[in-house]
Amino acid sequence: MSNKFSRRDFLKLTGVGAATTAILTGCGPASRYVKREPYMQMPEYNYNGLSTFYATTCRECAAGCGLIVRTSQGRAIKTEGNANNPLNLGKTCARGQATLHGLYNPDRVTDPMKGDSKITWDEATQVVADALKNNKPEEIAFLMGTAPDHLFDFVSDLANAAGINVPVRFNALSMFESRATLSKAAENLFGKTGLPFFDVGGAQIVLSFGANFLETWLSPVSYTRGFAGLREAQTKMRGKFVQFEATMSSTAGKADEWIPLKPGTEAMVALAIGKLAAEMKGVSASAFEGANPEDAAKKSGIKLEALEHIAEMFAHSGGALAIPGGAALGQSNGLAVAEAVLALNALADNFGKVGGVYISALAPMQTEYHGPASAQEMQDFIKNMADGKFKVLFVHGVNPVFELPAALGFKAALKGVGQVISFSTFPDETAAEANYVFPDHHGLESWGYQRVATGAAQPVLSGAQPVVSPFYNTRATIDLLLAAGQIAGGKFALTFKDEVEFLQSKVAPLMNEADGFFSAPDINTFMASFQQYGGWWKTTDGRTVPAAADVLNKSMSGAESKFAGEGEFFFVPFVSPTLAEAGANKPWLQELPDPTTTVMWNTWVAMNPKTAEEMGIEDDDVVRIVSEFGELEVPVYKYPAIRPDTIAIPFGQGHTAYGRYAENRGVNPTDLLGQNFNEAGDLAFAGVKVKIEKTGKKKPLSRLESIMGVYGVGMGEEH
């Protein structure tokens, strides 16, 4: 199809009129040529006041939720969830809503850049071509984010063809999710790789060990729907939810019981509950035999009666479910914690049952589960960089200078790489360190697809298409690599004409797949439906049942975890539910109050009010937090729901670049983390102890809640 094909021709051809509720499709790169028009001057396909809707995929995280974007006069006005998409069924999170503030962010990279000066795309293409041609294949490396998948597939194909390093993927969310630990534990217990899926919606009692599944964990929109199902009391009994966590996250805030156990005792507590529950059920389970409930109660700070009560609920419920995740796994013994908690599910005999544990469906055309790199694998990658093994590094969709702990030394290792080329849409910290920035389109201006890794029962490939024409002089990274490959020649010259042709070649095999919710006889018809519905998915359940046979006979360790550093406080960094790793440049996300503290626009450290009082620390006092890896200064929020020996800091702020709304605001808690990993290679981010020093400074935090009435302030009972 010709590139000159305008939307008007397209509409005439297909006879699809501009209607408010119809979702327009295109069978080629047509929507690339949607033009922005002044409001006074309507494009021919649009009537005054009528909008055009496009189905695409959210790229704020890698979950792959479908979006329907309302556009008007070529501008994206509003994102809504795609009701057809089995993952999110028409719903979005706050970040999906605010993605428009990324698209129309005043601080985007507008042109290809060499240092601080603009260059042309021809020059940029030549730079990439030279980088490919003039280096040995093993000296060329790609570091990519967890989205989008089509670009990852393209670079993987390029790596296969030309023999360059296979692309490495990383994202701070998967680091804080402890995703590698979860999948490793599943592999150890079930003998099969894959990401477990927990059917919260069908359960009757959920025990969650640190899994913040209502915030950012794995697939928050899908898990939130599951949580609503758990609580649904119209057709069944209202399900109960118990969260084990040292600080009350906003997920724990929704729990019926929040159990503030001592960090590091999660495995011990899980095994103790298993032992008590096994006795109550009259089941013999050697996995739990080593546990000592009295000892676990003493060490974890949970009353023995509470443990027995939880074990009783767990043993006698028809739908018991236990979930390991987040900070509970981000410790030196994280793998043991994950295995102990997964073993509880074997006791509940819930594998492959409603309200139980499954192995997530693989996406269409996917043959095996691939997780992103763990922090330890990133450390190896950084070592290769520092040792000068890479002459050129391409970075896309990830901001490692910000997302990785500074102590891992990514920024310094960039000096060991000859040439760093970033494809970042925004001027982030990594782009600031790069020799060149060749900006990709924003996700809403892009083609692509995303494999749904977990959260939906069916195998889902969520499709993306541009909903508006590119706002700036940006270029799709695949188009740039294709053009550069042609110049570089040899094995780099792939035969695709452009990104759309590559995309079509990738989804074409789906036409012959069974059980699709639509099929088509030819690629153009197929692509039209693919774009109209926002992807392709099966109508059948693709989840698999974990092998339960041996789990209860495995040997489990309940040893306490080890902590790095000498400080008196356990340190729990957690991902801000509203900002996550890349939301800080969107002003409305900054102005969303944190669900637990209601703080906006800044970072705080949550301290127990009694501890703060004993140390003579008040709200908004700036304290210095010192770990053996680093230190930072941050104002105090006296948080009533945290252990006295624990502090917590949200991750998401502390940018030194990334635009006006993100820069020089708050701190990055990864500055306190370093090279300690668990057995699965995940960062033991919750395995650090810290000291607190007073600074005498004050920094008032903006919060939505009034401080009136909090701890008696302003109510005539100050203390």
Binding site: K78, A94, P577, P587, W588, E591, T596, L704
Partner: protein, 241 residues
Amino acid sequence: MIRPEEIKMSSEETGKWGMVIDQDICTGCQACVAACAMENNVTFVGEVDSGYGRSMHWIRIERFWEGEYPEVKMTPNQPMLCQQCGHATCEPVCPAFATVHSQSEQLNLQVYNRCVGTRYCANNCPYQVRSFNWRDYERPEPLPNQFNPDVTVRRRGVMEKCTFCIQRIHKAQDKAKSEGREVVDGEFTTACAQACPASAITFGRIDNPESLVSQLGHRSHGVKHLEELGTLPNITYYKGG
């Protein structure tokens, strides 16, 4: 002076839109707040002004604390927005008739170009859901490209609040009228209800006993906030648990 017997109770009237919010499943994720801001061109105010309590949220998630560590509990998240009172306390105090009651929609309207910024209405609102534009807040180019053309952009000195997405109501009504039918329950919804991942917010006609919102509203344990003030709020809350 209106005598009490002359007050026509809005519960007797037709055309009423209402909402049911299930606090038991609200996770406090703020998706509704972001969705509302995007739909209704609500401005952000920045760190300093939001610290002074000048943020413009039309909907906010309230949570309170009960007890002390370790027996501390977060109360169920409470999305608080204009209750579209049948007998609103903000209305009679406006000297400019900027906040008036709509007879046809039974909504509490805010007419921006009448508002002179006395802020009497906000002082009189027991729910504290009105927000005032203390400044012309900067939204640098190209952010205004995102503005919803169906919603007025407000400027300094004007009061604003939740409208139950009246632009969506009108659009649905116009469409139904042009097709010669009534608006069907569930045909459209407000931005907050549409986004909510837990489906904790349900919007619809409470004068239609068949609508989902009426069905949910008739469950026994619903609460209307500050009902004792006689404001006749149109939002029912379920605490659950």
